[in-house]
């Protein structure tokens, strides 16, 4: 009976067209959206990495537990230079991060913030990739001002040129006090970072905390995700595991897991409705075909074709149809997904602005992942299997005399 199923397709391809196209559309959009969903997650992961540092983070072991400025690491700048010339290292980003209280004449209370000292040149691209200057200027090397997040500016009601008083505890207990002018306001895509962080140049921070050549974290950015482990193995000799803690992006991302869970859940819900939509589309096409062929089925059962056999024939036929649609969808979507995995999806106009405000990523790349193709292929295939139940049930229940009568058709 496979033969008959095959002949049904081979000799009457037009009849199969509507089902093929519905399966094609289903698989095509599921693959695209699946890649999009995964791409959003990956892009978000990327953005988070960009905002939080890099692919590898080095800290001293004690600092990671105490977060005390006394436990930060002090390292010869030659070592940093040697890391930066390793293959696939894009950038080395030393950071000095410490808590401090700030106050401003416009408000009576003081506020605890995270003071982040960064290397203005290397950080320029990184931070600017995920955020925009709202006001003022980015640091140049010897600037002694601070840049604050948009939310903090609104909260404190201050502007460019206003002076902020900073009070903290420096390295080994020295007091760290200073006055810093606000030289810029930046819109950061992560709200909590935006409201709690205050940036200054690394040298200004080291000076304030009296911690020359000392860093709370060193981040390393790689140009390729899959080379991160190689870099890790290289730097292990300089940073022994007794003293230092080296974490790669997979561990770093863990901290943002809630965000990913939510994004994933939204994606899942959208995906679910997408499946529902494409599933009913396929079902519609199959119902139509079944209706059209009721007379044919009735004739076949009348002349003595067992219903089971006829059901099986239809099953084989529809499986083949589904495969054609699925394979076509893979063939067509492959280059599209590939293209948009290397080129960001262009976002224009207001929609783009809104997206940028609500989401963490600024650029979306589709994820080009073979397992994703296989996954969507299998899911749509399962949908097809479920849909095929319809003609099978119809054939089992078919009343041949009604199927044969003119009344029906």
């Amino acid at each position: 009976m496979i033969k008959l199923a095959w002949l049904n397709l081979q000799r009457n391809p037009y009849r199969a067209m509507s089902i093929v196209s519905s399966v094609f559309i289903a698989a095509f959009f599921c693959i695209l959206f699946g890649s999009f969903k995964k791409g959003v997650l990956n892009s978000s992961a990327d953005s988070i990495l960009k905002i939080s540092g890099g692919h590898i983070e080095i800290r001293s072991k004690s600092y990671s537990q105490t977060r005390s400025i006394d436990d930060i690491m002090c390292i010869d700048s030659a070592i940093l230079d040697s890391i930066s010339i390793l293959p696939h290292v894009k950038r080395v980003l030393p950071t000095l991060r410490a808590y401090a209280l700030i106050s401003h004449s416009s408000s009576s209370s003081s506020r605890a913030v995270v003071l982040v000292g960064i290397d203005p040149e290397s950080e320029k691209d990184r931070i600017r990739m995920v955020s925009e200057m709202v006001e003022g200027e980015w640091f140049s090397e010897f600037d002694r001002g601070v840049i604050i997040g948009e939310n903090m500016r609104n909260l404190l009601n201050i502007g460019i040129g206003d002076t902020i008083a900073v009070m903290g505890v420096g390295y080994h207990g020295v007091s760290a006090v200073g006055l810093f002018p606000v030289q810029g306001v930046i819109g950061l895509p992560v709200a909590t970072v935006d409201i709690n962080s205050m940036f200054m140049t690394l040298s200004a921070a080291q000076e304030l905390f009296q911690a020359d050549d000392c860093y709370s974290e060193i981040y390393i950015m790689s140009d390729k995700l899959d080379k991160v482990e190689v870099i890790e193995s290289f730097i292990q000799s300089d940073f022994s595991s007794d003293e230092y803690e080296i974490r790669d992006w997979k561990l770093l991302i863990d901290e943002h897991l809630v965000y990913f869970r939510i994004t994933d859940a939204i994606g899942f819900i959208v995906m679910f409705f997408l499946y529902l939509l494409v599933g009913s589309n396929i079902l519609g096409a199959v119902i139509l075909m079944t209706k059209e062929r009721k007379l044919e089925f009735s004739v076949l059962v009348s002349i003595g074709m067992p219903r089971d056999k006829l059901s099986r024939t239809m099953f084989y036929e529809l499986i083949m149809v589904a495969f054609v649609g699925l394979i076509l969808a893979v063939i067509v979507s492959l280059p599209i997904v590939y293209y948009f995995s290397n080129n960001p999806i262009p976002l224009y106009g207001e929609a783009a602005e809104t997206l940028k405000k609500f989401f963490i990523y600024a650029e979306i790349y589709l994820s080009f992942d073979l397992s994703l193709f296989i996954e969507q292929f299998l899911i749509v295939f399962c949908i097809c299997l479920a849909v095929i139940a319809y003609p099978v049930i119809i054939i089992q229940r078919l009343k041949v005399d009604e199927g044969l009568s003119k009344r029906e058709s």
């Binding site: 000799r11 007379l295 004739v299 009348s302 002349i303 003595g304 074709m305 067992p306």
Partner: protein, 238 residues
């Protein structure tokens, strides 16, 4: 097992108070109303009557395509409505040939494949299938169209292939509901002649329904239905 009447012809179909009711809104329609009839082997019988008189219903009941509201249908002495659905399909496959008014043939199969198909369902081996298919194509005079697909045939040719297909399974008898209804006069005549030829040469039993007076004229027995009842049952010697 077979019931025997005079001149040694066996009764192959017998109905007993056959009734089929349809509900049409609130009113009940008696599509067949206590029909009692017997068909003996070798008959060439037409069921006639005005539209709505119950011809299709009667043939469907006899062919086991519908279940009666009451009464019984015996084929080869067997009450076919006692059979389970699966057994009934198998029973049809081996005992009853069908010719319908439209779409008889599987559109994707060629003429010879259509004829061969039913024997394949019966489990006949390929060699025998091919031999019988060739034989039947010869009989209906369509040897040259063996490889054609149904869409390429005229209505009359399609119906002749349908008759050959019905015959391929070597059934006890062939049921044909208005086999000529979609045909022009000439095609109808050719089809009837083919059927008559098969009846005479191969002793194939035919029970068919028709509107067409010219078709009726060829029948050897005319059963007239009116409102689901047999009002006339005449045998002719032609």
């Amino acid at each position: 097992m077979n019931e025997v009447i005079n001149n040694n012809r066996s009764i192959i179909v017998r109905t007993e108070n056959l009734c089929k009711l349809f509900l049409n809104g609130k009113s009940e329609i008696k599509a067949t109303d206590h029909v009692n009839l017997s068909i003996t082997s070798g008959e060439f019988t037409a069921v006639v009557g005005p539209s709505g008189s119950g011809k299709t219903t009667l043939l469907n009941l006899i062919g086991g395509l519908a279940t009666p509201s009451s009464g019984r249908v015996f084929v080869k002495g067997k009450d076919i409505n006692q059979l389970k659905e699966k057994e009934l399909v198998k029973f049809r496959l081996h005992n009853i040939g069908f010719v319908f008014q439209f779409l008889n043939l599987i559109p994707v199969l060629t003429v010879e494949e259509n004829i061969s198909f039913i024997m394949e369902l019966q489990g006949t081996n390929k060699e025998q299938r091919n031999r019988r298919t060739a034989e039947l194509l010869e009989l209906i005079g369509m040897k040259d169209r063996a490889r054609s697909r149904p869409y390429a045939l005229s209505g009359g040719q399609k119906q002749r292939v349908a008759v050959a297909r019905a015959l391929a399974s070597k059934p006890l008898f062939i049921l044909a509901d208005e086999p000529t209804a979609n045909l022009d006069t000439e095609a109808a005549e050719t089809l009837l002649n083919t059927m008559l030829l098969l009846n005479e040469k191969e002793k194939v039993t035919f029970l068919f329904s028709t509107h067409d007076p010219r078709v009726m004229n060829k029948a050897r027995r005319l059963i007239t239905l009116e409102d689901g009842r047999i009002t006339k049952d005449e045998t002719y010697v032609r």
